[in-house]
């Protein structure tokens, strides 16, 4: 079942002779339980793709459908609501709130959605324990290692039980062992919780862990299967 659908999406920045086409007629559908990697060089449009899929940016043309709901034409407040209820972001390492402990990073999401109750506290603690952070609940980001921070980010993304997980270069500041651990955890959570997930990365070493690899260049997609990609990476 398709959870996230991008239908013939085009994004053009600027106007007239300065117009730059970042995405050119991109179509992509991601099903529940599927982890899709979008790989491409910088400037290829992969961040724009993630921003549009994540309701942070409106496409110039085309449709975005999330769980059957059309996102095109919604205002900023409605998009914030969509992000809060349906989308989990795993952002780059520096993007934890510096003055919140690991537990509070997750409780903030509960607070944004309403009240912090006993169920939310339990869910936060359970998620962090599941990701191997049981001993780090009350630590601030500054006291966590890079890998631990990314695991907190994954737990935070799962806190609101979203339909879609979007990861933006989750391994960019990690060495290959830690990076691999993080992507493994992401893949496991996607399977166990049956989420649709898109990971934007330039890290080719992780591609054997995903279900599908999509290459992007100059705003256009080319599909390849994961097995082929992993062979390419190994060879």
């Amino acid at each position: 079942m398709t959870t996230l659908l991008l239908d013939n999406v085009t994004k053009i920045y600027g106007q007239g002779e300065y117009a730059v086409t970042a995405l050119d007629g991109v179509s992509l559908s991601v099903s529940a339980g599927e982890l899709v990697a979008v790989v491409g060089p910088s400037g290829s449009g992969k961040t724009t793709l993630l921003a549009i899929a994540g309701a942070l940016l409106q496409p110039t043309r085309g449709r975005v459908v999330l769980k059957g709901q059309e996102l095109t034409g919604l205002n900023a407040a409605a998009l914030a609501r969509i992000r809060l209820e349906h989308i989990g972001f795993v952002l780059q390492t520096s993007n934890l709130v510096p003055y919140l402990t690991a537990r509070d990073q997750l409780l903030l999401v509960a607070r944004l959605a309403g009240r912090i109750d006993a169920a939310a506290r339990k869910r936060a603690d359970d998620l962090l324990r599941e990701l191997g952070l049981g001993h780090r609940l009350d630590h601030y980001p500054e006291a966590l290692s890079g890998g631990e921070r990314q695991r907190v980010a994954i737990a935070r993304a799962l806190m609101n039980d979203p339909d879609v997980l979007l990861a933006d270069e989750p391994t960019s500041s990690l060495d290959s062992v830690r990076g691999r651990e993080v992507v493994e955890m992401l893949a496991r959570e996607v399977k166990e919780r049956n989420k649709a997930a898109v990971m934007v990365t330039h890290d080719e070493r992780m591609l054997d862990l995903v279900d599908r690899v999509i290459r992007i260049a100059d705003g256009r997609l080319s599909h390849a299967n994961a097995a082929a990609a992993s062979r390419a990476a190994a060879g």
Binding site: Y13, S44, A80, R83, E85, L91, N95, V109, L112
Partner: protein, 370 residues
Amino acid sequence: MFLAVREFRHARLRYILIGAIIALIAWLVFLLSGLATGLATDNGASLMNMEADHLVFQADVRFFLHRSILPEEAVEAVRAVPGVTAAAPLGHLTVTVTRGEEDEKIDATILAIDPNSFLAPRIVEGQTFAGQPAASVVVNDSFKRHGVRLGDRLMVSPSGTVLTVVGFTTGQTYNHLPVIFMDIPTWRELKFAAPGSAGSVVDPISAVAVQMDESAAARVEQDVPGVEVATRQVALENLPGYREEMGTITLMLAFLFVIAAFVLAVFFYILTLQKTNQFGVLKALGATTSFLARDLIAQVILLTLLGVAAAAGLTYVVAAMIPPEIPFSLDSRLILTYAVVLVGVGLLGTLLSLRRIAKIDPLIAIGRVD
């Protein structure tokens, strides 16, 4: 509040420093306000504490007590006006006195009254001058600082008239000078010593103190010839130097409020700029501008409240240590008003930051758009 309190806890030093600046500004505001109240009291305590709500002056003297002369029959005329509850004569004179044989000169204001009227001062030591020999007086207790005791004689210079202190009152100053209360006849001898100095006025007094309804004021001006009526507050504001003193301090207070607004605005704006990326992340997670705005407002209110409360405490400590010669007194209601204004000014200063927060695009959370 969720973010506000956690940020305080984590960046304790930063917020303690900002709170300290707020406290220092508030402290200065409170001290100036204490000085203003002190000066006003010092200047016009006798007027402020007077049981009269209006004063009737000679017309066209701009409510200057020392220039006003009325005939004593004006008291009866005023009393006869409908709506007037009570009226009493008042005499005024500024003098210099010396105690006994000593050289120390004490400047003082004489207020001449009928000791049986509502203008009679509260006696805190000794007795009133009613029924005492002529030239018996009741003086403000600040005379004690000059060594004056009950029974002491004060010589009025240059006339040489000798006054006998029979009682002390308290909180009675006029024109920054301690008040000597005496009866009308004794005052007349001092004030109108030179023949003809009262002009054609028979049995002169300075003014009439009145208790009446606001509505009777106009009728008094109609019915009694050659008079002008002022409320007690207007009479106070027309004391020599009163407006200038209050104006100076009011101006300083106004500048302090403006400075407080700027300082807070700049502090919080810089903090907001530093946190631009964080706010972007929070918005990407689904935080609305109003959630972030409410949190910032909570932060500012908490911080200014704490700073202002600390300053108020400090002010009362200092007030207890200030020597009595310095005119300083705290009006708790005024302090509370200024505290509220300071918190309001702090909120005004956050408008700049709120505008900034509203403009932040959650897109910055996922790095540069390529």
